[in-house]
Symmetry: D2
Subunit: 262 residues, 4 copies
């Protein structure tokens, strides 16, 4: 409270538990920043900022693996193509990244969040007494046409699935995470394989959703964490593009003119 | 080359060295993604994506310290306030982060980039035969009013300076980095202290700029790396705000109406 | 089709009915741009680009009135505050506008779109045989807690309601628009007034939603048109702020530090 | 000033001359909004919000012609392609527009602003005693490689040039605008035609820059006004794309994989 804010209402309007500043003092989640520098890994820092406590090394490692796995999927992803075009338009790298990150919406960046919710629903049904296969069947039947986190338009098998699930399995065995979301996810995968003509294996969104949920992150942060992860690929592509020196890069070579719809 | 792209011109328009996708295959900078998951830290992954090779552990640690140090500076920073307001407007976390990251422009996120260029200029003058104090004096005299990376409106001493520079010094001693940008930065600091009534110590932008430059990142990536780092704080504040349940949060309490300019 | 796109698949990927370019030729919705310059008003141009035909003057006038009415609601609106802060961060006006427009999401910019859908639902129920009061009652009862387009946190009566509805009424009388959405909107307003302790009159989102729907724009374009309209206020505030010369403007005066949440 | 803001410092932090809100009251540039609705055209409203007064009809018409002329240049423009891809990613139209508008940076949206400055410089030199051809020659020689506002990669002659300049000429004849920037722009065009092997005629950025400058808008608003204008095309393309129902549209047909850079 100050002379110009005697009731503290203005300071309170921006109150936060994330950080505290005073002249010469920076505390992040109650910890002096100088205690964090050089002692704390980047994924632990992400955990700290989002949750208020520090993870143990196994938790941090699992989070890190998920973040590493999703950094990039090439310029056919709209976000990456957008970053590259934006970088040629005379804006800073910050704005190239922003235009791209902005498109990690419900379709392009939301499958992880949707998958956590989907698995949460199955586990709630199980906790309420349903057996797992029945809960899975009902969830798939009542859910959207494409089960979020399963199947891939491009990859018959997503090469990121096995190493990520392997790390979760090992973490379950060692008591690092409970294993319920893994169990539910594998049950969904088994159900989809039995039901259709061909398997619909878990994809990167499903595998990372399981990790985030096993670590206790709520569903919206599955999208939030994907944003942090994919920002790395976005920046890398934007930077590569700026080094080519193009100006105002369009989506296709300049000699090809868009066709005309009636 | 395919039937619809017989010359390869279309594939070539989006050519990239960052990643390669084929059905079942994801390579990042030439490395299969499954080899990176669980073996590679997040800061090493950032290095790999931006540069194409993997850092050694000391390099990765120095990069990580700089990224950790700059994650947040509270809601008085416009980017953080923007993230919090955006998060109450009915958009996803991706868009809240985007609106905020977008404002890490020349003033709010560009000091690191400017500081690298400033120190580069001093070192080039030195390499051309000037002695360092003379090169510093000329650079400060000809440079902008505020030397980028030095002084802070809020902190008399930035608590992040000492631990970051300590890590650089130790890396120099161990031959991890050459030490030239550190030397130039300290010379600027000494010159500013001798010249004015009060010291103008290095701030977070200066200290991280030295780290990025010592590690060989070009100037624009000082801003790019800051974007990745600050995205973490931005996400943390946006997420905290969403949990309060406010809608369309304005900048000041609702009972205070903006004054009228003539 | 060209040598590098022999099947036309690449040109077809970007096919559009909105515009056609050839060297020396620019056609917008099939009309040479030179025929539009100096003959066509801005609101007619908006109509043309979104729908493919030109409005008659009465339609264009009604659209223009709605666009004019919603240009601004001051810096307590998060979008406006964001534009002003962004403009001090060292980015171009384009990026200041972008960070702001981006926040016209479901809560901040979506009420018009939601109101069109809400009124559409009532009119569909009526078309299916319900009488209007019953359709209204059911829609309100089953709808969200706050009926989109009705009531205002700040204005007891929104001063934009009467002139906008007056223009619609006159257009209905002259056969310019059918009048169904107006009828439904007034029925909702009457129902809300009769039901509660105090009237909940239509607000700007409701009144403009009626205009857009009466003119035949589908619901999502109610948001789209609001984006165009509010961009004007956003730009005006961003520009005013840049002329003050502040750098990195935070949300509250610098001497007030955000309070600390536990 | 209120109980929680006794000094008025908080209200003053957000002071503005653009708009004033009180319960039941909305004033835009000092005019009650209800007086503007139905009486004021959209381009007059843009002028009012940016400058504080209303234009006369000829001024408003000239502004409107410039705004109409620049609404769109098809999906080869990065901003339009970005809007279309963003619209398939599961974000609102507001965010699709934002990602696109954000890229109207120095290269993609800044030529008008740069052209105003360029012509301002020539006119200042003339005012200081130089004759116009000499001032033009010096400005071109000392300026950037491509004179902003002149020449077009795609159109040998920009079909928007003649109708726009025709309107300016007529406005000069009638004393609506002074004609200095037109004079300077034509002198640049003549100089470029005489100097090279082929003419480099004025393009849309040059012609609209002349209009904005003749009407008294400062250089940065040439970009700001372009943002408003191009937002219309951006919205039209984003909306058209959403109606196709694609999800996560990449920049090229899905069967074409980006080539690999070494």
């Amino acid at each position: 409270m100050t002379e110009i804010d005697p009731t503290g209402a203005v300071a309170g309007w921006w109150a936060t538990a994330v950080s505290r500043m005073e002249p010469g003092v920076i505390e992040l989640r109650g910890r002096p920043v100088q205690d964090l520098i050089g002692t704390t890994g980047l994924s632990s820092m992400i955990w700290l900022m989002l949750r208020g406590d520090l993870p143990d090394p196994r938790q941090a490692g699992l989070l890190e693996a998920a973040l590493v796995a999703a950094v990039d999927h090439g310029p056919q992803a709209p976000s990456i193509a957008i970053a590259r075009m934006a970088a040629t338009c005379g804006v800073g790298l910050n704005s190239a990244v922003a235009s791209a990150v902005n498109t990690l919406g419900d379709s392009h960046g939301g499958a992880g969040e949707q998958c956590v919710r989907f698995l949460d629903g199955i586990l709630e049904a199980e906790a309420a007494g349903a057996d797992l296969p029945a809960a899975v069947e009902r969830a798939v039947r009542q859910g959207p046409r494409y089960v979020p986190g399963f199947g891939h338009r491009f990859h018959p098998v997503d090469p990121r699935r096995d190493p990520l699930l392997g790390l979760v399995e090992s973490a379950v065995q060692d008591g690092v995470v409970p294993g319920d979301h893994l169990r539910a996810g594998l049950a969904v995968e088994a159900y989809l394989a039995a039901k259709g003509d061909r398997p619909i294996p878990m994809n990167i969104d499903g595998a990372t959703a399981i990790i985030y949920a096993e670590l206790g992150f709520p569903a919206p942060l599955a999208r939030g964490l994907f944003v942090l992860s994919r920002s790395i690929g976005i920046l890398a592509h934007a930077w590569e593009e700026t080094q080519q020196g193009r100006r105002n890069k369009g989506p296709i070579p300049r000699s090809i003119l868009p066709a005309r719809l009636p």
